[in-house]
């Protein structure tokens, strides 16, 4: 879907981000040092770069300063101080996320930026169902399908985190917000409706004792 650079000197973390981004369908490029990262960004055309601040060779801030094109940047770092966040944002970064981070949060932020910068990513085509997250519009075989707000939110969460399972709790959080007091079963009822309405019976798989996953291969 998008071509994303992962700059992170910790190999395991780099690999972890890579695995998750690959799972949701992004193409990735991994770098481990500052100099390597700068070279990669200036020589390629990435849709987004995830920059670690503490990298050997050159730190993430310096890399950002020297980028010659307008690649969107998210700083990923263990540094939590406010000044560092401000430095990051004042350098023109699109977002800032601190370690340890929740992978789903990172995915959501990536999606956010991609939605802003790449118009085409707002439209997902799964089976014969077309979902436009920008206009919040769903079509099956070219015909509009009416979804309630909650149903659409659920579907959107599944689409953004496609190929990753989402727990029922997580789905409630994403679709209803933290303060929703409803039963986990509510999720099941809504999922049943989405499956029927959008013709995604097979694609939205039930993960045993956990939640749901939208399975989708390009």
């Amino acid at each position: 879907m998008a071509y994303i650079l992962i700059a992170e000197d910790e190999e395991v973390i780099n690999e972890l981000i890579a695995k998750n981004l690959t799972a949701v369908g992004h193409k990735i490029y991994q770098t481990f040092t500052g100099t390597e990262t700068l070279k990669a960004i200036n020589e390629n055309r990435f849709d987004l770069a995830l920059l670690d601040v503490m990298m050997p060779g050159m730190n993430g801030f310096d890399v950002k300063r020297r980028i010659e094109n307008d690649t969107p940047v998210i700083f990923v770092t263990a540094k939590q101080s406010l000044t560092d966040q401000l430095t990051g944002l004042s350098l023109g970064a699109d977002d800032y996320i601190t370690k340890p981070f929740d992978m789903l949060v990172l995915l959501a932020r990536i999606e956010n930026i991609l939605r802003r910068t790449m118009k085409n990513t707002t439209i997902y085509r799964i089976n014969n169902c077309v979902i436009d997250t920008e206009s919040r519009n769903v079509k099956v075989n070219g015909e509009d399908v009416h979804l309630t707000t909650q149903e659409f939110n659920l579907l959107e969460a599944l689409v953004i985190n496609r190929n990753l399972a989402l727990s029922r709790e997580k789905l409630i959080e994403l679709a209803w917000g933290f303060d929703f007091m409803g039963d986990n079963r509510t999720v099941d009822v809504h999922i049943q409706k989405i499956r029927k309405k959008c013709n995604l019976e097979k694609e939205i798989a039930t993960v045993y004792k956990y939640g749901y996953r939208l399975e989708y291969k390009k």
Binding site: E10, I13, L16, M103, L164
Partner: protein, 466 residues
């Protein structure tokens, strides 16, 4: 009123000095004056005698022939003496008033008739020396009172007093000014010390005293500076120790965070992603390695802190050759795996004193580092040698590895410092090896010296002082 030390000192010295100074000149003047008066008195007594003798001789002449003309003679004498400035009054024992050149009658009766009695009194507003004498027999019913003016002496005295007071005022003011200035000058270092001490007390630890005289105050100032220097050093030490500790804690939490993030992230990945069996086991392996890394980290930190709190055992004798051979044996598998030639050369008589396990850990760590440095180089050789020189035993661990940069050498003893993060982590280090070595070496006063060049290898010398 609150006076500071300098003001008190000034005030006391000035008061005491002025009392003694003025008292001194006044008493000198007074003594001089009383001497003058006494001399004058003696002089006047002699004059009095002369006057009396003249009267007596004239009286004697007329006494037998014309006693009635005695008063006349006395009057003549009185008139003549008055011209000389000497006043005379003559009366008889029966208070019969014969003659007086005084403006008013003087009543002065001597207590002792056998002597000449005298006193100083004010007559007509003038200080006058009065002498009372009886004429000798047979004229002893005549009492003669003579009066000599002493006003000049007293005027002199008054003048003297005036001069003395004027001088005293002038000198006192000069003295008070001079004293003020010199005290100011003298107490300047004291004030500087006081100011510095109060600034120091307020927390300005960089304050030092610059004014220094070559006396006790200067010594005090120097001692103050010395004390300030010591305190600052001590505080710097404490601060750097606290910083070291804080850094260690920060570093530990940072070091823990990465494997933790990894473990959590991969577990989550296992939960959510649809994986093939191979991917599944690969992910489990990653989690296992990260857990292992955390365990090594916790062990390292534990031995690090334990070392810091332990007392050194300095009595146990350890045979160096045995120790080095044991270490070589322990690392031989690793050396063989990476095709590294590991050799030990040590005379059998060399001995060191201390805890064998700690020495094993120290030298073992260094050998391990040397083996790691040789892992990817063309020439792979690690040699451990020992020799003794004077009272020193030296163990050298030499490798033909990748070497270290200047920056690495400077930071090598810092916990969690890594020359190349990804490489050393891949080899499973927690980043505490060299720091642990330094800790053990410090415990036994062992000198660790690293000499290294990038690309040509490293030599570590352990110098044991016995």
């Amino acid at each position: 009123m609150k006076l500071n030390y300098r003001q008190k000192l000034y005030f006391y010295i000035l008061v005491i000095f002025l009392i003694f100074f003025n008292g001194g000149i006044f008493s000198v003047a007074a003594i001089q004056n009383s001497k003058n008066i006494k001399a004058q008195q003696e002089n006047l007594l002699i004059q009095n005698n002369i006057v009396l003798q003249q009267i007596i001789s004239d009286v004697e002449v007329v006494y037998s022939s014309r006693p009635q003309s005695i008063p006349l003679i006395i009057k003549q004498h009185g008139a003549r003496q008055k011209a000389n400035g000497i006043l005379i009054q003559v009366e008889t024992d029966s208070q019969e008033y014969i003659y007086s050149s005084f403006d008013s009658q003087i009543s002065f009766v001597g207590s002792d008739p056998t002597k000449i009695n005298y006193k100083i009194d004010t007559v007509n507003g003038e200080k006058t020396f009065l002498a009372f004498s009886k004429l000798p027999q047979p004229f002893d019913n005549y009492n003669v009172i003579t009066g000599f003016s002493m006003q000049a002496v007293f005027d002199d005295w008054r003048d003297t007093i005036r001069v003395v007071v004027a001088l005293s005022v002038i000198f006192s003011s000069i003295i008070s000014v001079v004293l003020y200035i010199s005290l100011n000058q003298l107490t300047k270092p004291l004030m500087a010390i006081s100011r510095a001490a109060s600034k120091f007390g307020e927390g300005n630890y960089s304050v030092r005293i610059r004014e220094m005289s070559k006396d006790e105050l200067g010594d005090t100032a120097r001692n103050f500076n010395l004390m300030a220097e010591r305190i600052t050093n001590q505080m710097d030490n404490l601060e750097s120790m606290a910083n070291d500790k804080q850094r260690l804690i920060d570093d530990i939490s940072h070091e823990m965070r990465t494997p933790l993030t990894a473990i959590r992230g991969y577990v989550h990945y296992l939960q959510t992603a649809k994986l093939t069996e191979e991917e599944y086991y690969n992910t489990l392996n990653i989690i296992d390695r990260q857990a292992d890394r955390m365990q090594k980290l916790s062990e390292g930190v534990l031995s690090f802190t334990r070392l810091r709190n332990e007392n050194a055992d300095r009595t146990t004798v350890v045979n160096l050759a045995d120790l080095l051979n044991d270490i070589a044996k322990a690392y031989s598998i690793k050396a063989q795996r990476d095709n590294i030639y590991l050799s030990v050369k040590c005379p059998s008589y060399l001995e060191i004193k201390g805890d064998r396990l700690l020495f094993e850990s120290l030298i073992g760590n260094l050998v391990d580092n040397a083996l790691n440095a040789c892992a990817d180089t063309a020439i792979k050789r690690v040699s451990v040698t020992a020799h003794s020189r004077a009272d020193k035993t030296v163990v050298q661990i030499e490798d033909t590895g990748i070497g270290m940069s200047k920056e690495t050498l400077e930071n090598i003893h810092k916990p969690f410092f890594r020359a190349d993060k990804s490489r050393s982590r891949r080899r499973g280090g927690a980043g505490l090896g060299a720091a642990l070595c330094k800790e053990i070496a410090d415990m036994y006063n062992i000198d660790i010296k690293y000499t290294s060049r990038l690309g040509s290898g490293t030599t570590v010398s352990l110098i044991f002082t016995t």
